[in-house]
């Protein structure tokens, strides 16, 4: 997994509330195998009209934000379906960080597993950021995970992230290797569990 430490990039404001994972990646693209090409269908129905033409009013279609690596979203960003392909779409498009007042829980978890940072900010800091980006769209935003800070022009504020998620992102850790290092504890638990709660293992009634 790619590490996340610090980036400076253009940030695209998308401050609508409840941008669910169905918006980020519509269900009809769930069949796509992972080949690094999910970015093409990111926000498909918001970015393009029925004929496949770009909607000029959608922020990611506008000049300074087309190459954004940071998205600044609204409350409950990524709520809804557990589809990890929503994270693939953001990542493959080039997005490395989403900043929002709150996130869908499963979305945030999926993001962490793919090197995408979900940074939680207060509504007030979010409002100031939207304001700054509206005034000066090309203003670079620096997100520093080590310091947990966001800097944009004169604005300077903190964001929150779960400590374990932060460690994972900073190190680019693969969970499976980490888990395997606890193999003996897992085996011991399994054996004890089988004794204490034998009914948890399904056997078919005959």
């Amino acid at each position: 997994m790619e590490k996340f430490t610090r980036i400076t990039a253009t940030a695209c404001p998308l401050p609508a509330e409840n941008i669910d994972t169905d918006q980020i990646l519509p269900a009809r693209y769930l069949k796509l195998p992972r080949k690094g090409e999910h970015g093409k269908v990111l926000f498909q129905d918001l970015r393009f009209d029925a004929d496949g033409h770009e909607r000029p009013d959608f922020p990611l279609n506008r000049a300074p934000w087309r190459n954004a690596k940071i998205i600044f979203g609204g409350r409950n960003f990524g709520g809804g379906s557990s589809r990890e392909a929503a994270v693939y779409a953001l990542f493959d498009y080039g997005i490395r960080c989403v900043i929002a007042p709150s996130f869908g829980d499963i979305f945030s978890q999926n993001a962490t597993k793919n090197g995408l940072l979900t940074a939680v900010v207060t509504e007030a800091d979010g409002g100031a950021l939207t304001e700054a980006l509206t005034q000066e769209p090309a203003l670079g935003v620096t997100v520093d995970l080590g310091q947990q800070t966001i800097v944009c022009g004169d604005l300077h504020f903190h964001f929150t992230i779960d400590p374990a998620r932060r460690t994972r992102l900073l190190n680019g850790w693969d969970d499976i290797d980490l888990t395997e290092s606890f193999r003996s504890e897992i085996n011991a638990f399994k054996a004890a569990n089988l004794k204490q709660r034998p009914w948890t293992v399904p056997t078919q009634a005959t």
Partner: protein, 468 residues
């Protein structure tokens, strides 16, 4: 004296293997996979790994399965590939599969409980957000993404941070004909789609105890729409009765031991919750949604909100966008909203009790709009046919189809056309959820039936009263 514990605390600690960096490695008792789990199986193949515990893993074909023309080859090759890929992955990994041709096939969150695979005290995961449904049995059940599915396949464990504990107490008696869907929408309208974010919700109170297992499943299904990590109801006599003589329910000595363990599954008196919410069941009305998020729910006698009356500018902007997408006007009475079709189905509301509730309204009436009824499982379908409910749906002019996710998400091809308005028993009214440009209003099965016979959103209560 030991500290009083919540039900969730007990579920958590009985699955904890180790702690590290503020997270715990948890043992998974039950893992359900479906066609959408293919990303995780690819990950497994890349590593050359095998499923660690195939006996604890079960596959169900539901998301892509056709609801018509069963028994014939699937006409769409991409959909056919999604279904056969699951067959192959399950066969290669020795996983029991309830595939397209199995008589136990259905939606994963209907099938698990109905087969007795879902039990109190288990930790249950599935690569699907509505896994919260299984919490109705007093299990810790939650949805995970593809990376986590791969992790569970390979290790039967999962790293999790312990969520905070929340209790939603619903006391009092619901009015006649109202159900769990109305309670769920009332809660979400009240606390918002991120209201329970970071929390494990326990549903408690007399109105919850009075719910059937079907109702409890509907409620826990919607816990995720309130942002909750999971929804749980403590098991009781209703739970144990439901579990008797299901195919995989433990028997003999194992059952006796299970009953002993299940008796402990409740929050101790005086246990501490991080967040408490109370709802008065007697004040719950039939709810419908008007917008593009489950929190956009209002009692049926209300009107579409007016963004000019909203003081929060972000909220006003959101309301304007939702009204625009839904093709509505501010202040329009909800009962004046004409619909184009109805859908009765999904893991939220397609169990036998849901079909009975809808059929009772449709009996001896005709639907003014076309509609599709897809039972939650093949067993539910057989049961409904035994009871003659299929006749009532057909006589009312609705289509009676096979079981699957169907028009809840539309990836099997059952879609709502762009611009069409659908009254639906599902859980998500997101933009484009039932098809590009589709407009979804979610509500209970009885309310969908009332909308069908009225041609517009309608209160089902007068329709019930007229019959008796």
């Amino acid at each position: 004296m030991s500290t009083p514990l919540t039900l969730f605390d007990k579920l958590w600690s009985s699955h904890e293997i180790v702690q590290r960096d503020g997270e715990s490695l948890l043992w998974v008792d039950r893992h359900f996979v479906h066609e959408g789990s293919f990303h995780a199986f690819s990950r497994l193949a890349e590593r050359g790994a095998a499923v660690a515990e195939p006996a604890l893993t079960f596959g169900v074909a539901d998301h892509y399965v056709p609801t018509r023309g069963r028994g014939k080859p699937i006409p769409n090759p991409e959909i056919a590939r999604m279904v056969s890929q699951l067959d192959k992955n399950a066969a290669d990994q020795n996983i029991t599969l309830f595939g397209l041709k199995d008589r136990r096939q259905g939606i994963v969150h209907v099938v698990g409980p109905e087969l007795g695979l879902t039990l109190p005290g288990l930790l249950i995961v599935c690569g699907d957000s509505h896994t919260s449904t299984h919490g109705a049995f007093g299990a810790y059940a939650f949805g995970i993404g593809a990376s986590e599915v791969a992790h569970v396949l390979m290790t039967q464990t999962l790293w999790q941070k312990k969520p905070k504990r929340m209790r939603i107490t619903v006391d009092g008696k619901l009015s006649e004909g109202l159900g769990a869907k109305d309670i769920a929408l009332a809660i979400i309208a009240n606390i918002g789609t991120d209201g329970a974010s970071g929390h494990a919700i326990e549903f408690a109170g007399s109105a919850i105890r009075a719910l059937s297992m079907e109702g409890r499943m509907t409620l826990c299904n919607m816990a995720i729409e309130a942002g909750g990590r999971c929804g749980i109801v403590a098991p009781d006599a209703t739970t144990f009765d439901y579990l008797k003589s299901r195919e995989f329910t433990p028997t003999g000595a194992a059952f006796d031991k299970a009953m002993q363990d299940w008796g402990e599954l409740k929050s101790d008196a005086g246990a501490n919750f991080d967040y408490e919410v109370s709802i008065d069941a007697t004040a719950v009305a039939p709810f419908v949604t008007w917008g593009t998020s489950p929190e956009d729910a209002l009692p049926i006698d209300a009107s579409v909100p007016d963004p000019t009356l909203e003081s929060n500018p972000e909220r006003a902007k959101y309301i304007r966008g939702a009204i625009d997408y839904m093709g509505l006007a501010p202040g329009k009475k909800l009962t004046d909203i004409a619909i184009d079709r109805v859908f009765i189905g999904s893991c939220t509301n397609a169990r036998i009790e849901d079909l009975r509730a809808a059929a009772a309204i449709l009996a001896n009436r005709v639907s003014k709009v076309p509609g599709l009824v897809s039972p939650g499982s093949s067993s539910v379908k057989r049961q409904a046919e035994e009871e003659g409910l299929d006749r009532l749906f057909r006589d009312a002019g609705l289509e009676w189809a096979d079981s699957g996710c169907s028009m809840c998400v539309g990836i099997n091809g059952d879609l709502v056309a762009s611009g069409e308005r659908c009254a639906s028993t599902t859980n998500r009214n997101f933009r484009g959820r039932q098809g590009v440009g589709a407009r979804t209003h979610i509500m209970s099965p009885a309310m969908v039936a009332a909308a069908a016979v009225s041609g517009h959103l309608a209160d089902m209560r007068p329709l019930m009263a007229r019959k008796s």
